[in-house]
Symmetry: C2
Subunit: 466 residues, 2 copies
């Protein structure tokens, strides 16, 4: 195991992927081990490192003026910390047996092998791009990378048309709808599901639907895109579904992402049912002593359902990187799993969830009670108190909290953290009713909305049939 | 025990005190038992019921225009629910042995005895009013009750002077400073402690101090008021300390409150070291089968230090009332204790704490590490991301979270809830580093500020001496 592929007897760590997970791992490992002990080579096929993909909608929406603000650490900064970073270099093969990776210079096409003692796979996710007629038309954009964002911005500023169609109504879809509204476009969102935000139960998604309509967004649900119409200039002209056609000067695809694990699959590494790499709690690829993986290319344990999920989210990727770096660097850290927390907004509407939706709970074999309550973000009488809706799921008999969904205005979204911590701790809704949360009229009603829901849920569980 | 003092064989519940705890108890008991089973008599010496004393600063500061908005439930509403509410009626004696209370009509002076089967004591707290020369001058105001608030408003609108002195720099003091600034006064806050907000450690209080000065508030620390100077018209003219004199057209006392337990003490009921009633977990007065107490007149168990504290806060009072009402009404509920969460603001500065300060932890016999970090409320690049400071205490060896203090701008204060839930669950700071909190650029940096503090604290604990 300690063949020391690096120079002068140092071990060599190879990192595949230069964004959050990969470069956090590299940086943390470097903090723990100097260049004399550990050589670090990182391959990144794009131009950028350590950037906030989650920030792209706000850059496109002109709330963040400069692309570079999204970059947490530049290639130069990484190199100055003793990381041999190779941009525009794509890893094309992992030779697990031989302990080496083959990389290709994207520009020259030159290929070469690099041996590793330890390997970190942080290849991220790729956006789902349905194989539809017209999908390659000009003006059809994904928003996964900074390059994607720049291409989209070029289209937005280059077109005189003002009609935008967003395909997909999940986080990226609604955030892009906001961005396009901010850029002065008329926005139609075409959504396959019953309601937008399928990460919520449909009754909560319905609230998002209504609010989006109130913002002037045209929301088309239960609609599958069948074709993209192209003009003679090769530019997109319209988005077609089975029932209708929506004129479009620009189309944004926000359908979701899948783990980018083709390399790992070809190398015979273990993948889960969602196509993500499977790791142990130390983020080590299962069955492989010297390979770690993290970020959008892995599956994570959902602590509430006890099953693996794929969640592409920068905050997890950063944690994974930190943990991998600690373990690679000779320390010790673990990632126990997630509870499925997510927060987003569309204009002034805040949307949050944690834990299980009704269908997740059923799939996990759980029986549960649900309650939905209306409350306000501040004391009812305090200026700018805004309404919010909280839905809560609690397990039958045990009363254990299973999930919370929140839709509201300013002050609604981050309240989900209360439930996220309670879920992590395995609290019952009855225990939650006694939580000592921050109260003052500018911050909360005397019963915080989450507590109002917990009280109602506790009552329902205790009255429930045996 | 079931002598049935009420009419027609119904039990009689007597409630002393018509604000949050008392009337919540009465209302909850009424929900569970109809008038045929339970007669409810409630005595309130003032004019109002169920109002938000915490809202008074915002009414005085003209953010809430109408006093009645602070009233959650009027006397008429309580009566319509079958509660025999007697306003302007002060209970002057509890005869525990005889199971009765003596009450006096405040206006007529007439006294009479009322027998009870069950008694709820919710006498609240009274503001500390130091016995200083000039304390009874016109223009010197407390802000405990709605009547106090009205008196203060009358002074503010009646005086041409624009100089206000606030005595005390705790929650009420800083909130009143904001209210007076809003009313166009020049505000001086005279504070006995080293820094304002003694509910924080002095290093965090120092941040509040600087911010208040930035708002144009004159902050005088380490200063004990010795005298209030009065003009020939009987109106306050200045506030004197040992070193200086501060001209004042109005003085607001915000020194704090003590449990109002003179009645309980005279009746031989058990009081704790802070002068509050001592109860069991069901909020029953210790050693008394048929007497409950809750709200600002009781001491509560601090779950972190394991000791009793006195905390006057509407959110606790409401919970106590709910719990007492459930128990009195034949249900079952308990109040496990508090972790000491509080949040407040002065203008746009948000101030929050939960758990133990350094001196609380030392007093509890705990050894600990502290860390303080700077972060932002949203992703650094997102518009209106504002700086915040988080201080965290973690126990040596176990790494258990002991307390968090936060000072920042918009979005800082309610983050304390994350720590409040983690404290309740007994989490270690290492466990906290893995918390799955809501992340999106408009809501949080990729590492939430509380997680940044937890990571630093975890590192310090693990590096600590054995």
């Amino acid at each position: 195991m300690s063949m020391s592929r690096g120079s002068n007897g140092a071990e060599r760590l190879v990192v595949i992927g230069g964004d959050a997970a990969g470069m956090s791992a590299a940086s943390q490992a470097r903090r723990l081990k100097g260049p004399g002990e550990l050589e670090i080579v990182a391959f990144e096929r794009g131009h950028f490192t350590s950037y906030s993909a989650c920030g792209i909608p706000y850059w496109v929406g002109d709330e963040v003026s400069d692309r570079d603000e999204l970059i947490a650490r530049t290639p130069q900064e990484h190199r100055s910390r003793g990381i041999d970073l190779r941009l525009r270099t794509e890893v094309t093969e992992i030779d697990v047996e031989g302990g080496r990776v083959r990389a290709r210079d994207v520009d020259s096409g030159a290929e070469s092998w690099t041996a590793y003692d330890k390997l970190v796979i942080a290849t991220g996710a790729r956006p789902i791009r349905p194989d539809l007629p017209g999908i390659d038309a000009l003006g059809v954009h994904g928003v996964q990378t900074l390059d994607d964002g720049q291409d989209l911005l070029d289209t937005l500023t280059g077109t005189r048309g003002r009609r935008a169609v967003v395909v997909g109504a999940g986080y990226i879809g609604v955030e892009m709808a906001e961005a396009l509204i901010n850029r002065g476009f008329q926005v139609t969102v075409v959504n396959r599901g019953r309601e937008p935000m399928s990460t919520l139960d449909p009754d909560m998604g319905r609230l998002v639907h209504r609010a989006m309509e109130g913002m002037g967004i045209t929301m088309v649900n239960d609609a599958e895109v069948t074709k993209l119409h192209m003009g003679e200039d090769g530019r997109v002209r319209a988005v077609a579904t089975a029932d209708a056609e929506y004129p479009a000067d620009v189309v944004v695809l926000g359908i979701g992402v899948r783990p980018e694990t083709a390399l790992a699959k070809a190398a015979g590494l273990p993948l889960g049912e969602h196509g993500g790499l499977l790791t142990d709690l130390a983020m080590r690829v299962r069955g492989h002593e010297n390979i770690w993986a993290g970020g959008d290319c892995v599956e994570v344990l959902d602590l509430v359902s006890g099953r693996e999920r794929h969640i592409a989210l920068g905050t997890h990727a950063n944690k994974h990187g930190q943990i991998i770096g600690a373990n690679v660097g000779g320390g010790y850290a673990t990632f126990p799993g997630v509870v499925g927390t997510a927060v987003s907004k569309v204009c002034d509407l805040e949307i949050a969830r944690t834990g299980l939706r009704e269908k997740d709970a059923r799939r996990a074999g759980l029986q549960f009670e649900t309650v939905t309550i209306e409350s306000t973000s501040r004391a009812r009488y305090y200026p700018s108190a805004s309404p919010m809706t909280v839905k809560m799921l609690a397990e039958r008999r045990t009363g254990r909290l299973l999930g919370v969904q929140i839709v509201g205005r300013e002050g609604a979204g981050k309240r989900v953290d209360i439930a996220a911590v309670a879920l992590t701790a395995g609290m019952t809704v009855e225990q939650m009713t006694a939580l000592d949360l921050g109260y003052a009229p500018p911050f909360s009603p005397v019963w915080d909305p989450v507590l109002v829901a917990a009280r109602k849920a506790a009552g329902k569980v205790s009255r429930g049939a045996p």
